[in-house]
Symmetry: C2
Subunit: 153 residues, 2 copies
Amino acid sequence: MEQKEVQELLKDRLKEKGLKVTRQRLLVLSVLEENSGRHMTAEDIYELVSEDYPDIGLATVYRALQLLWDMQLVDRISFDDGCVRYEIGHLFKGEAKHNHHHLICRKCNKVIPFGDDLLDDLEHHIEEATGFHVLDHELKFFGLCRECMKKEK
Amino acid sequence: MEQKEVQELLKDRLKEKGLKVTRQRLLVLSVLEENSGRHMTAEDIYELVSEDYPDIGLATVYRALQLLWDMQLVDRISFDDGCVRYEIGHLFKGEAKHNHHHLICRKCNKVIPFGDDLLDDLEHHIEEATGFHVLDHELKFFGLCRECMKKEK
DNA sequence: CTCCTTGCAAATTGTTTGCATACCT
DNA sequence: AGGTATGCAAACAATTTGCAAGGAG
């Protein structure tokens, strides 16, 4: 049910813009849907799509991701480790809400997801104060995880 | 006065670790200090340092930035435009406090700084709940700026 | 039938690394 | 002197682009 909706939305938006509905584009989106908990690199996605469609090229995956991102169907996030990661747009997740909060350890680079949502008020405040229309946010905390804190001393 | 402090701190930390105090390292830090409002790429920094020290190599700038970051003297931030940006550590800025809040327009990629600090409570909460020691945070809002909102329709 | 899209390979871009030389301490 | 740093060039890795061939509308 969720499954259908994003796919249909993609088809509609493609048609609107005179672009084509291709198997590659649908597959990239569906891999992201099926892995809605993960932060996937283009390479990760490429490998998974390849299982269904071995002939796909990596460049096509990049192009599809760019397109899906422009259409606001997928989110991007970067942990500054040299590659951008993608996930299904938070609006389409089954889960409660967006969960773009991460604790990133500066010693071991571990990423700990942290679910909490205290920013809705702030978003409204921003819209009123600046006229900027907020679609999504991303919050990262940098520091030292419990384990690295121990080793520290 | 501010000027002196970070530089001295760098010297101390280098000596502590048996590393050398070099003109290149000091210059990279001082360029970041002098441009404390900007988000600078390694290339930006390289060009500015080159004015004082034309023989410096880009690789040295990268190595110095890595080192300064490890020592928590500079902050890193990425706007997902393919290059990491640096600025003087928030602890050493003259300004009120950290200001790592940005509104990023998904159409025109404009970055609007947004100063506000509502996250201190949340940081304490995290430390208690998870044992993760927070050093810094970074908050980005993605959306559409006022101008792009107008063009939208 | 007409563009849009794809796969491939080559090109780019940001960043890192190897190595001989130069420099701190 | 002895190890650390540097500059340069080559190496890398993620992403983008050009182009001829294939596919959707």
